[in-house]
Amino acid sequence: MAVRPLSAITLPTPAPDEPLAGQRALYILWALFWALMIVVSVQDHVHAGGSRLWEPFLWEGASAIGATFWFLLQRRVAHRYDADLGEPLRWFARHLKWLPLVIATFVPAVYGARHAVYGLVGERYVHEPWPFVAVYESIKLLLFAGLWLGILFAFSSFAEWRRGQRRLASLERSLAEAQLAQLKAQLRPHFLFNALNTISALMHTDVDRADRLLARLSGLLRATLQTDERDRVALKDELQLLELYTQIMEERFAGRVTIEWDLDPDAADASVPALLLQPLLENAFKHGVEPSTTPVRISIRSERRDRELDLTVSNSGALPPAAGTGLGLRNCQERLALMYGAVARLMLSEASGVVMARVTLPYEEHRA
């Protein structure tokens, strides 16, 4: 299956996170949790013979507000920790690092608030001595943080997993689209249907020739379908493909084209990108042979010069006005740049009635 190089595929921008449903569930859970804490506290208070119900509300309410502050802070920066979701210990450690600061702010703030409210109603907030409070609240906060970090970890992990799934799906989709576009372009409906029509015409005059042509067309289609564009092939195999193509075209344009092959035997085993020359040859037919009412000569040349490989496809005629802007050449150029960087190049030129596409790339022997 032909695939375009990955860099040439524009990746869709990832869909904005859809955290809303998940976030909302988390906030509801948080609210329920604190409602439960308050209810339990009120019950305890009543059970212990307390009568002033506002007291448990104040105690737990102050805690709820203090904890919510840190909770919201975590929600704001949660995405910064997403990268560590794959390593839970690290994720928890990075969060727990903040626990001392949480304790240092939470305890004074909450107790300060309680003292203030008691003071406002002209009472005194009686509690255990400060050292005890510090140790007791620290342990409580540690347990509390453990519980909620566990919950947050689960939520974040799930969201991250969902994001991954979506990314994968859209990547697969764009890959498939690219493959399809490539396939369509390579099969070139014009070429395919015209070739079939030639076969259908020959069938009535020369069955053997029609049959041969059918086999060649099949060979060409098979090779196109099997080739992955990132693959490299031996030059002799690429040339064989070109030969199939020219044989079909020579039948179609009988008497209007002659093909010359000038091949360097030393270059036969060179490694070249698969289907690199095919679009160049197609161009020679499309812009050279098809629009011409007089016979056109196409020549295909290979030459190895020490460490360099030179491949040219040329045809008699003139460059069309918008030459070099087509998909075939651009695709060729992109692939060369991707595979070889600056050392490979593709040049299009016209001199004394001959249009020439020349590819120069480093010589490497092909290993099957």
Binding site: L192, F193, N197, S200, A254, E290
Partner: protein
Amino acid sequence: MIRVVIAEDEAPARDKLERWLSGYPDLEIVAAAADGLSAAQAIEAHEPDVAFLDIQMPGLSGLEVAAQLEQDRAPLVVFVTAFDEHAVKAFDLNAVDYLLKPYDKDRLSKTVHRIRERIEGGAPRGSAVQVARARTNTTERLLVPVGETLQLIDVATIEWLEADDNYVHVHTAARQYLVRRTLQDLLAQLGEQRFARIHRSTAVNVAEIQSLIPLFKGDYEVVLRRGGKLRLSRRFKDALFARMR
């Protein structure tokens, strides 16, 4: 006898169509052309009843050939193509006949059947020409006879057009051509952008007008940049003035 012209640049495809069509006793193939210009010449010379025009041809495409035909006198056109999604859509919409390559004998015989029906029923033939004009740049190039052959000229070089019965004299700076078309049909092809009717029998390339000199009775004299003088009749005065403003 139904007289047929075939235009197809690929020899095997041309042979196939020719062979199959000659199997119908009421069809007579009067010419088989291998490129667009020869096709136009064959149609001009033979005035066939039907023209099978391959779309993809060197020189002039089948659509361009059809676009240069006079709507009222055009043969019945059957376009032949391997793959032209958009053109085919337009053909379907406008009931223009076409053959998709490769086609079999059944498909061809349906087409022939429809041709017979249309010819017997005297159906109008203009729709293929209309579709072809809409799909090609016919406002820029005009096919004109030069001696025995046809030649494409750049429409911008035309100074003015003069109707003469069913012919039009096409005046350019260099020379003049006689085209077998009505002025109305020619203007329909060349578009309203460039030419303005100034008289019952004349139209002028607006870009060539140098000045307008009033004459008596509301008529004007149109002076061309290269010195020619034409008469602007009162009937067309307002439209021309509106355009030149």
